[in-house]
Amino acid sequence: MSIRQLTLFISLIILGLPAITRAQFFIGLEAGGNKNSLITNNSNQAFTSYDSKSGISVGVPILYEVNDWFALRASPSYMQKNYTINRTGFFNGIYQDNINGYLQLPLMGQFSFGDDQLKGYVNLGVYGAYWLSGKVKGSEANVLNPVDSSYTTVAPSNIAGINNLYPYNEKYTFNPTKDNRMEFGWIAGIGISYETNNGNRFFIEGRRTYSFTDQQKKYMINQTPRYNDTYGINVGFLMSLDNLSGRY
């Protein structure tokens, strides 16, 4: 299904709703942790793996409840989509953690079920994100800082016995030729919310964000794409705007 088809479908649901009986706005705060993987292929690289890495996210969920089972939800948020490049075997110790911060705006339809207080729900939508910042932390073999092993009789058991490792922890400098800082994708979640007597809600939600844009611009032939794929869990609360404005 294309984005266009999905957008059309969601629009039809909204427009076709028979009656907006108790439309209500909610706003709140959410935070959580996630695990991101960079989906790519590097099978030509010896002793090298791309591994998932955990990160954090914080956001401000905004919910427009159309009726008791459908709501629209936006959740502007800061979200990390991290991953690690690890060298293995003889090269164990060489790695790079890529800490990437995104400003993300998911737009979702929320389908609820359950009783008035305890509800289960499913979210589904699309998101747009901007790659805001990057940091690289790791360790590399420093070719021009050799361990003077040639003058000893000790056979190295690790690359660190040949070249001193250079540890680094620095801001990532974006390359406008290579880095695609805009990201779009699908987002889906499943959660449980509990409504208190005063109408506020607490929720816990598992979420998957699935990028369908390459992390790189198309700048060379035979380019292997790189996609972020993130699983996260968020907790948060939503306050009814009616409550905030004093109307009960």
Partner: protein
């Protein structure tokens, strides 16, 4: 309304509720299952040595992809590698690997494709055909030579075998020796000369960085130099390290040589390599460091490095390291321009590789940036004091560059 009718209505509502939730869940599963269709296919990336090389299309693919992934200078190289792909892929597809004429045509194509690469270590060896070699940087120097004669030729070996030992080195101090060493699979002569000049200058010449392979003839030369350095006589006013015509070699020798003259680590530049398959995927810059050796003494006297247009690789790196010392000076001519250190490809997932068992590609594993922020790959390192040798001076028994070094030390 009857009780039965109410029950029926409630039942219908429950069924509708159930169906609507079921349709929502079904819809969500449908959407989630269609997620992956929005992505481009991620195909397997193969290492160049794993291609069969059974036909020229295969050889070309392995070579082009190997270069695409392993070459470390794409950020500064002006070669349009995508254009190379679109131009030469169909041309290679027309060639027959079992035809001699086509093999020669393929060699021409390889040379055309790589002629502009700035990596000045870069050498192709056609291991699957005739073992001929092609070096783009050497070809470029040949062209320069047609305009400026002698621009590619090393100084005559007699300069180091006889002129300097007989005319410049103090007779009682002369140490000279030659051993046989192996570099990149080739056996070559490792020659070193040391001694004092005018009893004021400690001099060392060596033609390759092969200290670890030093044999019985060169060892006394190096021992003399390093022993004198460790207990420097008060009469010594400066040091000359002569790497003219030096083709480079082992990286650890720099620590052994220059690390004997410093007592604090010397940062003189940076290196970086690849950390991904993209042309522009790089590691951060790591500092290039000379580590002081045990028993080293801090030399505050002028240290002059003599290097020239045939000083390559480690010879150039040594010139830059000495140049970065507060008491260091580089005298001579601009070096060859092959500054990127090499290591086995598996160390960095970059650099040298073999494409489809047809062509071996000798190329840097890392890119070097000097302390001043410049990358001299393909350009050569400019001297602090430019002095050119001339045939006339040589034939009249003079080494103009060594004369300039002596003069510099005498005046400082």
């Amino acid at each position: 309304m009857s009780l039965g009718s109410n029950k029926k209505t409630i039942q219908m509502k429950k069924i509708n509720y159930f169906l609507s939730r079921l349709s929502i869940i079904g819809f969500c599963f449908f959407i989630i299952s269609s997620f992956s269709s929005c992505r481009k296919d991620i195909t397997q990336v193969n290492a160049p040595q794993n291609y069969t090389g059974n036909n020229f299309s295969d050889v070309f693919e392995s070579f082009w992809n190997g270069m695409n992934n392993n070459y470390v200078f794409w950020s500064i190289d002006s070669t349009n590698w995508d254009r190379v792909y679109t131009t030469y892929k169909p041309l290679f597809a027309k060639l027959n690997l079992l035809d001699t004429t086509d093999n020669n045509t393929a060699l021409n194509y390889f040379q055309q494709m790589t002629a502009g690469l700035i990596d000045s270590h870069y050498t192709l060896t056609y291991t699957g055909y005739n073992n001929q070699q092609f070096s783009p940087s050497f070809e470029r120097k040949l062209k320069i030579n047609s305009i400026t004669p002698d621009s590619i030729y090393s100084l005559p070996q007699a300069m180091f075998d006889s002129l300097i030992p007989l005319k410049y080195i103090d007779a009682g101090s002369l140490k000279k020796g030659v051993d046989s060493v192996t570099q990149n699979g080739f056996t070559s002569a490792f020659e070193a000369v040391s001694g004092t000049i005018q009893n004021k200058i400690l001099y060392l010449y060596f033609n390759s960085f092969s200290f670890t392979q030093t044999g019985p003839n060169v060892a006394p030369v190096l021992n003399y130099f390093f022993d004198t350095l460790a207990k420097l006589p008060p009469s010594i006013k400066g040091i000359v390290i002569d790497v003219r015509g030096n083709g480079g070699g082992e990286i650890v020798d720099l620590d052994y040589l220059l690390g004997s003259m410093i007592t604090k680590p010397l940062a003189f530049g940076y290196t970086r390599s690849k950390n991904g398959n993209g042309r522009l995927d790089y590691t951060p810059w790591a500092p290039a460091i000379v580590t002081p050796q045990q028993g080293a003494v801090a030399i505050s006297l002028p240290i002059v490095v003599l290097a020239d247009h045939t000083s390559v690789s480690m010879a150039e790196i040594t010139a830059m390291a000495i140049k970065s010392l507060p008491n260091g000076k580089f005298i001579g001519t601009t070096t060859w321009g092959a500054n990127g250190p090499l290591a086995p490809a598996v160390y960095y997932n970059a650099g040298q590789f073999t494409a489809g068992s047809y062509v071996n590609v000798y190329t840097s594993s890392t890119m070097f940036k000097y302390l001043d922020g410049n990358i001299y790959e393909g350009k050569g390192v400019p001297p602090d004091i430019f002095v050119k040798e001339t045939s006339a001076a040589y034939h009249s028994g003079d080494d103009q560059q060594l004369d300039a070094a002596i003069s510099y030390i005498n005046n400082h």
